[in-house]
């Protein structure tokens, strides 16, 4: 069970394989055609998107919401909403004052009721097998939302104020953490991207105490914790470890091997660090598989979780994440696929394609990674098998796999960019998206009429 694998890793035990936690925040919306704003405001849309993430990406753990502005919004920051990004903070209520607020959010404030209900519903549907992450905005980043970029100057000129403000934000963080724990979250991730922008000395002087209090609270409540950071946090890893999280999650700016040597000294797990833009957003499926294999090669063994570097961009091709999932779940098979891919190029295997314009029956061709390991591939194959009885008089189908060298040659000759894909009479019909029974039958019938 995937959840147990993740728990073993967070207990610092050797798990059977490395767990996989894709950070599909706003990207979850892409899977079902909703905008970022829709899934961050609408409970049903969010739940639908998350269930699709669970189905297609087969995670061992997954976040429910990746939005660091939830607490800030409750505390009076105005937000700028976007179609394909989380919102940004537009105004900073403490920008002209050094007052320390007193408000602590309750379960009735802002978007928290919607999020808490979604957490409960997702727990009921996928929570038995998948660990759920509740993400809270870290106290330093929350302080910057409230104060604006003046917080950096304050660190140099008024350390007591920063300590007090971050201390207040840690109380907010603890309150929200407790709500998420009560809603059934298995792991609380304290997400504080700005930590990479300050010196380890400043972290220790002004932030250590607050972060430690949050992680102590999470541990006392009996759930796991993770400390997410973004940017080049190489210098900060050690002081982050000293605050006592169960895991630290880093992005591609951190060299994973060196960082793991530090986290290993503290017996803390590390998560990371598939590059978000170059690999996930703009790379190929092969790039994503290779990246995961490289991560496993340099940092594999216990205390490792494979994840994207941070919140996945909305438009990451679904196929790239599917490929990454495949590589984590079955590295040997992925290694073989990459070898075959190179070999197929070198060997120049001859491929004869049918004359698609003159076929007796509609030809449905499925191009798959490894259906035994890739959930999206399994669903796509099952979708075709399911309708076959109904269309067998007018159509036939066959499948090609990335595990077979001559199939790769065919995939290349056809110009198939992403797997899994379904082609009807030589034309791309579905890529990663699994058609419903009715849709697929209609597509095949339509092709038969045209033929």
């Amino acid at each position: 069970m995937g959840k147990e694998l993740l728990f073993q890793t967070l207990r610092h035990e050797q798990a059977e394989r490395t767990p996989w936690v894709p950070f599909a925040g706003v990207h979850a919306g892409k899977l079902v055609g909703y905008t970022a704003e829709e899934i961050l405001k609408d409970e049903d849309k969010l739940l639908t998107a998350l269930q699709e993430v669970n189905k297609i990406y087969t995670p061992d753990g997954m976040p429910v919401v990746f939005d660091l502005q939830i607490e800030a919004e409750v505390l009076g920051c105005e937000l700028l909403w976007a179609r394909d990004n989380p919102p940004s903070v537009r105004s900073h209520p403490l920008s002209g004052t050094k007052e320390i607020p007193g408000k602590i959010p309750t379960a009735e404030d802002g978007r928290l009721p919607m999020i808490l209900r979604t957490m409960g519903r997702l727990k009921d549907t996928v929570g038995a097998d998948t660990a759920l992450y509740g993400l809270v905005c870290g106290p330093f980043t929350l302080a910057s939302h409230l104060r604006g970029s003046d917080i950096f100057m304050d660190m140099a000129t008024d350390q007591d104020y920063v300590r007090d403000l971050v201390g207040y934000c840690a109380k907010v963080c603890t309150a929200v953490t407790q709500m998420y724990i009560d809603a059934g979250m298995d792991v609380i991730a304290v997400v504080d991207p700005l930590v990479s922008q300050i010196s380890p000395k400043h972290f220790t002087k002004m932030l250590h105490e607050s972060f430690t209090a949050v992680f102590d609270h999470i541990r006392a409540a009996g759930v796991f914790s993770s400390f997410f950071v973004c940017g080049n946090a190489t210098r900060q890893i050690e002081v982050m470890c000293r605050t006592g999280p169960d895991c630290i999650s880093v992005d591609e700016n951190v060299e994973l091997k060196a960082a793991k040597e530090v986290t290993d000294r503290y017996n803390i797990a590390i998560g990371g660090n598939i590059p978000l833009t170059t690999t996930m957003l703009h790379g190929t499926q092969q790039d994503n598989m290779k990246c995961v294999l490289d991560i496993l090669d340099v940092a594999g063994g216990k205390n490792l979780i494979v994840s994207p570097g941070c919140d996945m961009p909305y438009d990451v091709p679904i196929e790239n994440t599917v490929a990454a999932a495949q590589a984590v779940r079955n590295p040997d098979s992925a290694r073989k696929m990459l070898e075959n891919y190179v070999a197929a190029e070198e060997e120049d295997i001859p491929v004869e394609l049918p004359d698609y314009g003159h076929l007796d029956k509609v030809l449905v061709e499925l191009f798959l990674l490894d259906p035994a390991q890739c959930a999206a591939c399994t669903y796509m194959l099952a979708a075709m098998e399911d309708v076959y009885d109904e269309v067998k008089d007018i159509a036939e189908y066959c499948s090609y796999k990335y595990t077979v060298k001559k199939d790769i040659a065919r995939i290349k000759k056809m110009g198939v960019a992403n797997l899994p894909s379904m082609y009807i009479n030589g034309k791309l019909a579905y890529s990663s998206i699994i058609p419903s029974r009715a849709e697929l039958i209609a597509s095949i019938r339509s092709a038969a009429q045209k033929g």
Binding site: F152, S199, H202, G231, T277
Partner: protein, 209 residues
């Protein structure tokens, strides 16, 4: 000279309260305002840039160093002769449309200011049209565009396209930066990418040649 070395160190350490006193001492010791500027304040800021680049300094230290340099500059400005301050070039900055992040851009502005550039900062969420207006008004040598979101990197290209349409593209060179940006993105519109605030100075100097 020790007095100039003290000013240099004062900037590196961000000792805002001490820089004016140290400048007085340097002047009493016979240093010229130009020496204080070049060998004290600007040299100190250049060292800050180096330390930031290699990860020995972080955002708060850079900000406080820049503030220290500013205080020093204000003090010696009336004493400088015409020609003492050599403006290397003018850079117009903007965080592109749809993006509200400004810390990275502020750092780049400070570093470039410290390297002798005149800076015009149009702020955040700046439309392509506003950048065009800015270019018309200030006639900069360089345009610096910042984006922190993968989607707002598209606004960089839109801005470059708007400059082309307005016939202003060839009058400037475009520098870009921000977490999701890379050279490949910059190549799409003939932009020039730097990985951080410190290398932005090197890039700007290169583009000004």
């Amino acid at each position: 000279m020790k007095a100039l070395q003290d000013i240099y160190q004062c900037v590196v350490d961000g000792e805002m309260d001490e820089v004016e006193g140290l400048i007085d001492e340097a002047l009493s010791a016979g240093c010229t305002a130009k020496e204080i500027l070049d060998d004290g304040l600007l040299a100190g800021m250049a060292e800050v840039g180096e330390q930031f680049k290699v990860g020995d300094m972080f955002v708060p230290e850079v900000l406080v160093a820049a503030k220290t340099m500013d205080i020093g500059m204000t003090k010696i400005k009336p004493m400088l002769q015409s020609g003492d301050i050599k403006e290397v070039g003018t850079v117009l900055f903007a965080t592109v449309k749809g993006d509200l992040h400004d810390i990275g851009k502020k750092l780049v502005c400070m570093m470039l200011e410290g390297a002798g550039y005149k800076i015009i900062d149009l702020g955040v969420d700046v439309s392509p049209e506003a950048v065009c207006e800015g270019v018309k008004e200030y006639k900069p040598d360089l345009v610096g565009l910042s984006a922190m979101l993968t989607t707002t990197t598209l606004s960089m290209k839109e801005t470059a396209d708007a400059l082309k349409q307005a016939g202003l593209y060839d009058s400037v060179r475009i520098m870009v930066g921000g977490a999701p940006v890379n050279q490949k993105i910059a190549d799409e519109f003939g932009g020039h990418y730097s990985t951080n605030a410190s290398t932005a100075v090197e890039l700007a100097n290169e583009l000004m040649k």
